[in-house]
């Protein structure tokens, strides 16, 4: 698969906002899949609803833009019915953490051969910047004008606890590591999950005094520390909270036999 073959050029210009992190993530994905040696016509790109949901529409391959929160259900059906296909899911923090939370934990547990790339931009970008399940505590969004009084989900830690075979979290700043992890995830048997913390300057940044994309990206960079280090800190407000940090790195690599193998549809 060649890098530029993956662009669905007839759909340009794309609809993402200036400064959005999705462009970086798509580039990293193109690099990773081009290096992975997978066949373009034997891959299916699935997504739910939201900004992340629009990604498969810009990839030149069979792509399914499904309903909100449900891409993992559709993806599971595709993989089980035709195991020769490589099924890749793009999703967001709203799609996976909120409306599709049940599908997310069960997909991790079930361990079907799926690669999920989750773009976590801390808010609902498509609808104008509402609070999401990953919005750090006390940050402002359009539905939490006095600051978010809920504590956020840590999607990667959930994936680890729920039984995914591979889990990694990077940010749009850590591009080289992100490419490595996506490639690894693509080639991994079973359920693989790569979360990317990404900047949404237009909504999340604007309401939190980080309107300039570079400023928001810098904030993400400065607050990222390796997961191994974070384990040593015992702070009640840790992990993606305002006083906390964004833990990054490869979270887990297991070799549980994939569901598709266990039921005999994959060799």
């Amino acid at each position: 698969m060649k890098f530029f073959d993956l662009y669905r050029k007839d759909r340009w210009p794309h609809m993402f906002c200036p400064g959005c992190g999705i462009g970086t993530i798509m580039n990293a994905f193109y690099y990773a899949i081009a290096e992975s040696g997978l066949s373009q016509d034997k891959a299916v790109f699935v997504a739910g609803i939201g900004c992340s949901g629009r990604i498969p529409g810009y990839i030149r391959g069979d792509s399914l833009h499904t309903t909100h929160g449900r891409p993992l259900s559709f993806a599971s059906g595709i993989k089980l019915a035709d195991p020769s296909l490589k099924v890749i899911v793009f999703s967001g923090d709203g799609d996976l953490g909120a409306i599709g939370g049940n599908h997310f934990i069960n997909a991790c547990r079930r361990n079907i051969d799926l690669t999920v790339i989750c773009i976590n931009n801390y808010n609902y970008g498509m609808t104008g910047g509402q609070v999401s399940t990953t919005t750090p505590a006390h940050f402002k969004t359009s539905t939490t004008p006095s600051g978010n009084k809920e504590y956020p989900f840590d999607l990667s830690e959930i994936a680890v606890a729920a039984g995914a075979n591979y889990v990694a979290r990077w940010t749009t700043y850590h591009v080289k590591s992100l490419i490595r992890s996506i490639k690894k995830a693509l080639l991994k048997d079973g359920f693989s999950f790569v979360e990317v913390v990404s900047q949404c300057p237009v909504h999340f940044g604007r309401r939190n005094k980080m309107t300039a994309p570079t400023r928001l990206l810098n904030w993400i960079k400065e607050n990222s520390i390796p997961r191994a280090k974070i384990k040593q800190i015992t702070d009640d407000t840790l992990d993606l909270n305002v006083q906390g940090k964004i833990s990054i790195g490869e979270f887990i690599e297991r070799n549980r036999i994939a569901y598709t193998k266990l039921i005999g549809v994959c060799k």
Partner: protein, 373 residues
């Protein structure tokens, strides 16, 4: 056992449905346990393996219908089974299947509602839900079996219709028919429809269609590189959400491909075609009429086997010379409104509804009384 062979069998309605599905070529099933449809999920778990298919129990009904839509895009005939509460959860993805023109079959073994209602008792409470349950404008096909035989036959027909028109087809069964044990015959002459695929990669225009309004299917993994979305799209398949004309063309076609084929889709059963007293019934309640019609040739039965689209043309034809129409339903009147509307158009002013709720059946004596005979 691989695929069921010609012969006579004794089974439960739910089990006969699974045999019909496998006969029709269904090789993917996803479901979630719910009374009175659980037996379908259980039998699929047992039988799909034997025919190299896949059956999976998902985490809920939303995931179940999502999985079968995904499976269908690989060119695999797919089915799910549920009852009212689960069917309610499926409605959003049902609309997605209509919008993306994905052939799937949904078995709804109806029980008493609303809400958790009566899990083990039959009802016909989902008739309107099956027609109007999802948001927006669309047309759908729903079939109502009234016997174990029809649980087998109509499941095959449901797949044939889904493949022909690229539309979700609903089997509106109920707890009585699903749990009924009885005999059914598998003939050696059953027609199976296979999906029409694109033979060459489409590259562009995933939804190009001809005069029959049904596009060929670009299944995944063949180099078509299609983009499939629930957003309003033109024939390229790409989202075009702000142009009124594109939405109008798309929705009109989705509706017309069913409406304009009403004659080819709709099937009814008519007994005593010249009777002046006409009982209109479908599914379970229709079984109360056969004996009556046998004894009294002036009592007729009009049974829509296809509930949606409503077989208006066939019903109007049958209404000639009818003095009274009695509609039997296990709900507070759902198909009744279409029946009465059609009757009024045809000049029959005497249409009454005879409701039974709670899983009770319409007794033949009561039907005679309601007819005023």
């Amino acid at each position: 056992m691989k695929i069921i062979e010609p012969g006579t069998y004794f089974m439960q309605g739910d089990e006969a449905c699974v045999e019909g599905a496998i006969y029709a070529g269904c090789r993917f099933f996803a479901g979630y346990p719910i009374t009175p449809a659980t037996e379908i999920t259980e039998r699929c778990a047992l039988r799909m393996k034997e025919v190299d298919g896949v059956a999976i129990q998902m985490e809920d009904e939303i995931a179940s219908i999502g999985a079968i839509i995904g499976a269908s895009w690989t060119g695999t005939k797919s089915m799910t089974a549920t009852s009212g509460p689960g069917f309610s959860l499926m409605q959003e993805n049902l609309g997605y299947a209509c919008m993306t023109e994905t052939p799937i079959v949904i078995v709804d073994v109806q029980r008493g509602g609303p809400s958790t209602g009566q899990p083990t008792r039959a009802s016909q409470g989902d008739v309107m839900q099956s027609r109007w349950g999802s948001h927006g404008d669309y047309e759908i096909i729903a079939l109502a079996p009234n016997s174990v035989q029809e649980m087998f036959d109509l499941t095959i027909e449901a797949f044939n219709l889904a493949e022909t028109y690229r539309v979700p087809v609903i089997i509106l069964s109920d707890a009585d028919i699903g749990h009924m044990r009885g005999t059914f015959t598998v003939s050696d002459n059953i027609k199976i429809v296979t999906r029409k695929y694109h033979t060459k990669p489409v590259k562009y225009n995933a939804y190009a269609y001809d005069e029959n309004l049904v596009p060929r299917f670009p299944k995944f993994g063949q180099g078509h590189r299609v983009h499939i979305t629930g957003l309003t799209h033109d024939i390229s398949g790409y989202p075009k959400t702000t142009f009124p004309a594109i939405h109008q063309v798309l929705i009109t076609r989705l509706v017309d491909k069913i409406r304009k084929n009403e004659q080819n889709i709709c099937r009814v059963e008519i007994i005593n075609p010249r009777a002046e007293y006409l009982v209109v019934a479908y599914g379970s309640p229709s079984n109360s009429v056969y004996e009556l019609a046998e004894k009294n040739k002036n009592i007729g039965l009009f049974r829509p086997i296809t509930v949606w689209p409503f077989p208006e043309g066939l019903f109007r034809k049958r209404l000639k010379g009818v003095k009274k129409c009695l509609v039997l339903e296990m709900n507070m009147g759902q198909l009744f409104w279409d029946i009465e509307r059609t009757a009024l158009k045809s000049g029959c002013r005497n249409t009454e509804l005879f409701t039974k709720l709670g899983g009770d059946v319409h007794e033949p004596d009561e039907i005679v009384k309601e007819l005023g005979l």
